[in-house]
Symmetry: C2
Subunit: 96 residues, 2 copies
């Protein structure tokens, strides 16, 4: 899996609302009604991550969820990150 160029990343981000590129990773955050809702989404994402064999760097406090994606082996952002990002967006949209 090859690291994408900055240009490729910025182009792909145009179709991914709410995500930013910084420090060799793509980042987003979500706010839910409460902890249960946040953890429900995290659980769905966990299954997706495991299925992709590609895992997020993520943090949660109560209703807030922060997610960063990068591909360790490639030293940056790859197609894998965008696949997982799109899956995450699908999960969050289905929740709302």
């Amino acid at each position: 899996m090859e690291k994408l160029s900055d240009d490729e990343i910025y182009q792909k981000l145009e179709e991914l609302k709410g995500w930013k590129y910084a420090s060799n990773a793509i980042h987003t955050s979500f706010q839910f009604d409460n902890f249960k809702d946040a953890f429900t989404v995290m659980t769905r994402i966990a299954f997706e991550a495991e299925a992709h064999q590609h895992h997020p760097n993520w943090g949660n406090v109560y209703n807030e969820l922060e997610i960063s994606l990068s591909t360790h082996d490639a030293g940056g952002v790859t197609e894998k990150d965008f696949k997982l990002a799109n899956a995450i967006e699908g999960i969050v949209e289905a929740k709302n």
Copy 2:
């Protein structure tokens, strides 16, 4: 729920292996075999946190889990944090 003094916190930490006090919170980290094991423990902790109505500030990357506990309303560490910390230790011990 009242904020504990530094002395009280350090005394309680003596019975809580692997936890540190810094920046008005208590912190620990765990390493599991893989993501599934980490998320399994997170799920157990999530139920406990919800039951306590007291939630962690936590982050996960693959098999690593970092947890910080503090009581927002009290502006520091309270008995609530130690209750949840002990519950977390029980969950992790049961897992191993």
